[in-house]
């Protein structure tokens, strides 16, 4: 077990290193640099050159890359030219907002998606089953920026019952969290439905029924528990996706998280902040994956190292 975790950690380190490298290269290959954005449209070539020197942008890329790696190891991404101050601290400052949003969206996904899936499984082929099926497909197919704008239009502008932007009140969480949860909610409902159906057809259910257990006990005690295992393990991945999807949702709802910060920093060539944000998201995602794999052992004793 320890060997397995160590091996996965080693692989994760490689992945993170890859992410750092790709982000570094992509940001520098796209045209335009921070010096021109700082000095604006009235800068002279001499001023630009002087500032590039000062910022270390005129050094050859490999030199910049090695220096960058050295800094990243110490979690020092440098200063943000746009926001002033340490870039990593600036990103960490925005992290709670994104985590709150993602966490709440996860709760919504579970509380709505799971019961819907179970209900659909118990009524296979009936109206409610097809309804859940259609709705979940629709939810997954609709682009979330569009859903977000529509929700703002309906619930904020027309009905005026929920704020459409982050105004500091807890209600402001409802619309962005729902928009974020919608595609995963349908996905979870279908996952639960199919999983439950599969379990219901298994021998142990027949055995349980034949020994006279009530349908309620068969279902609540035996079937549901087995359905839960795959659900719990995918939730980690869903949370990772939430953080990635937050990039779009945060723009629509003016949510002050790392997603909106990242978009602005890329547009403004604020390398330090963009790198800190992307690397943080990558580490988070990879960490969650690792956690899920480890959790698997504990939740399902039938899985052994050989089967992984």
């Amino acid at each position: 077990m320890i060997i397995y975790v160590a091996r996965r950690l080693w692989q994760s380190a490689f992945l993170i290193f890859g992410a750092i490298t790709i982000v570094f290269l992509v940001l520098r290959v796209i045209p335009g640099d921070p010096a021109s954005l700082i000095l604006g449209s009235q800068a002279t070539p001499e001023e630009l050159e002087a500032l590039r020197q000062e910022m270390g942008l005129s050094d050859p890329l490999p030199v910049q890359y090695v220096r960058h790696l050295g800094e990243v190891v110490r979690l020092d991404f440098g200063e943000s030219w746009r926001l002033g101050g340490d870039a990593f601290a600036g990103v960490v400052e925005r992290l709670p907002a994104t985590l709150t949003l993602a966490g709440y969206a996860l709760v919504l996904t579970l509380l709505i998606g799971f019961p819907l899936g179970v209900h659909a499984a118990r009524h296979t082929g009936q109206l409610v089953d097809r309804l859940v099926s259609y709705l979940s497909l629709t939810g997954q197919a609709l682009p979330s920026f569009w859903v977000g704008i529509m929700l703002v239009l309906i619930f904020s502008r027309m009905l005026d019952i929920l704020p459409g932007t982050a105004d500091g009140t807890p209600q402001a969480l409802v619309l962005p969290a729902f928009t974020l949860a919608l595609p995963f909610l349908g996905w979870l409902a279908r996952l639960v439905r199919n999983g439950t159906l599969e379990e219901l057809g298994k021998d142990y259910v027949r055995t349980a029924r034949s020994k006279g257990l009530s349908e309620r006990v068969v279902f609540n005690v035996h079937v549901l528990r087995n359905t839960l295992t795959p659900v719990v393990t995918v939730l980690g991945l869903v949370l990772g996706n939430f953080i990635a999807d937050a990039v779009i949702i945060e723009q629509v709802f003016a949510w002050p998280g790392i997603g909106s910060l990242m978009v602005e920093s890329i547009v403004n060539r604020d390398y330090a902040v963009a790198e800190a944000a992307i690397v943080l998201i990558a580490v988070f995602y990879i960490g969650l994956n690792l956690l899920v794999d480890v959790l698997y052992f504990y939740l399902d004793p039938r899985i052994t190292l050989e089967t992984v």
């Binding site: 002279t44 029924r209 602005e264």
Partner: protein, 505 residues
Amino acid sequence: MVTTYNRRSFLKISSIGLASAYLAACSVGGGDRNAAEQALRAAFAQPINDLDPHGPSSVDESTLLAGRLIYDTLIRRNGDKLEPGVATSWEQTDPTTWVFTLRDDVTFHDGTPLTARDVKASLERVKEAGTAQSALWTSVSSVEATGDHALRITTEQPLGTMPVNLTLMFILPADKMDSEGFFRKPIGSGPFRVESFTPSDELELVAVDYWNGKPKLAKVTLPYIPETSSQITALRTGDLSILWPVPPDQLRELEGVDGIRLETVPSYVYYFNWFNCGREPFTDPRVRRAMWRAVDVAGIVKNLFGAGAEVMTAPVPSTVFGHAPQEPYAYDPDAAARELAEAGLGDGFRTSLMWFGDTGPLADGLAQAMISDWAKIGVTVEPQSLEKAEWLRRLNAKEFDMDLQTNTVTTGDADFTLGRLYDSEADRMGYRNPELDTILRQAHENSDRDRRSELYSRACKIIWEDAVGIFPAALISTYGLRDTIDGFEPAPSNQPDLRGVTLAT
């Protein structure tokens, strides 16, 4: 497969699930929305990234807006007049020396008095910062605090724009301004102090007992809302009390809405469409003028912007000092085609136009409208809609045929744009005219108002008649206000003074 349904148990499971979802939704809804409305929430369309008034964002409208509320300047602008700020009086004792007398009752938010040493340190800091505002101060050779409340500034060449430039020079406390993290919660001497600040998200301000009139509001919050439709919604629902500038194409979303009124003022922001005068065929002024005549400027501005912009009559907006109205170029495609033929381009030509989408409202529409007008006289223009960083790179490298962009006369004085952009040495778009250079330099150095005004009127005429660019539209700033707002004065600089504003509850 035997499936016996136990409806009750399933209804129970699902209803527990739904009920908990509902409860969760309600539990976060415990806050009191009215409590948030006690303070003024006002949103500017651009994010406040940095509160350092001398740093990389020093001429961003959003940083200037915050600076006006937090810091003081020696001199303030009021309409088209300059009036005393921290300086009670100033005098140009010889062409290169300016002497200022400072108020003795100004204190920073931490209680320490503001002295000439703070002004000296601030001016030296902005001069050395190497940012867009530093360019205003290159000719300053020394700043001396000759007493606690007396200051002398000497320059290498005469600097006639000294007083107007000083309206941008925010004063920071000398011994604190360089400390680590100062600009996360900076200390100024302005009407509001910073309560909290998250860059490009929200700035919270609290009123102080300001020497120049305590603000009537106790608290002001300036949130940034990136999405235009979300901004409009927030104003309509009362989540915001003030929103500006409202984009021209969104005006009808707010017109005639109960509880909202709109106030407008011509701004310092305008569009220009430069020709690269160093590139064929735009080296020929006849071609440039033909291009201008081919565009139905009045029609485009009216149809596209409506009440959101006015047709320009000079290379700077009408609100700017130095504006002198010129003869408009009448829309006449036939004359334009004839002029092209005279210049040897009777068969038309191919060229390109670059811009970036966020340069200003309706930039894409404006570019497309002009391109289709040019097509009518046989000029094929390739549209190049770029990302801002790439656009800037090409602009600075003069890699363009035509460039469409907005520009802001930040100081409200023609020197800020005409003096810096059209000088041969600055060489922004390949236009060289020694006569214009002389005029602009004289206007830059002179401090006599009437003389400067006359010089700029000559500069306007040359730039206009030589058609260095097309000057289509000056934007009108529209402020969307809730009816609960009183005492608000719309500002052409997009930096409203909030001291006199009250909020009815």
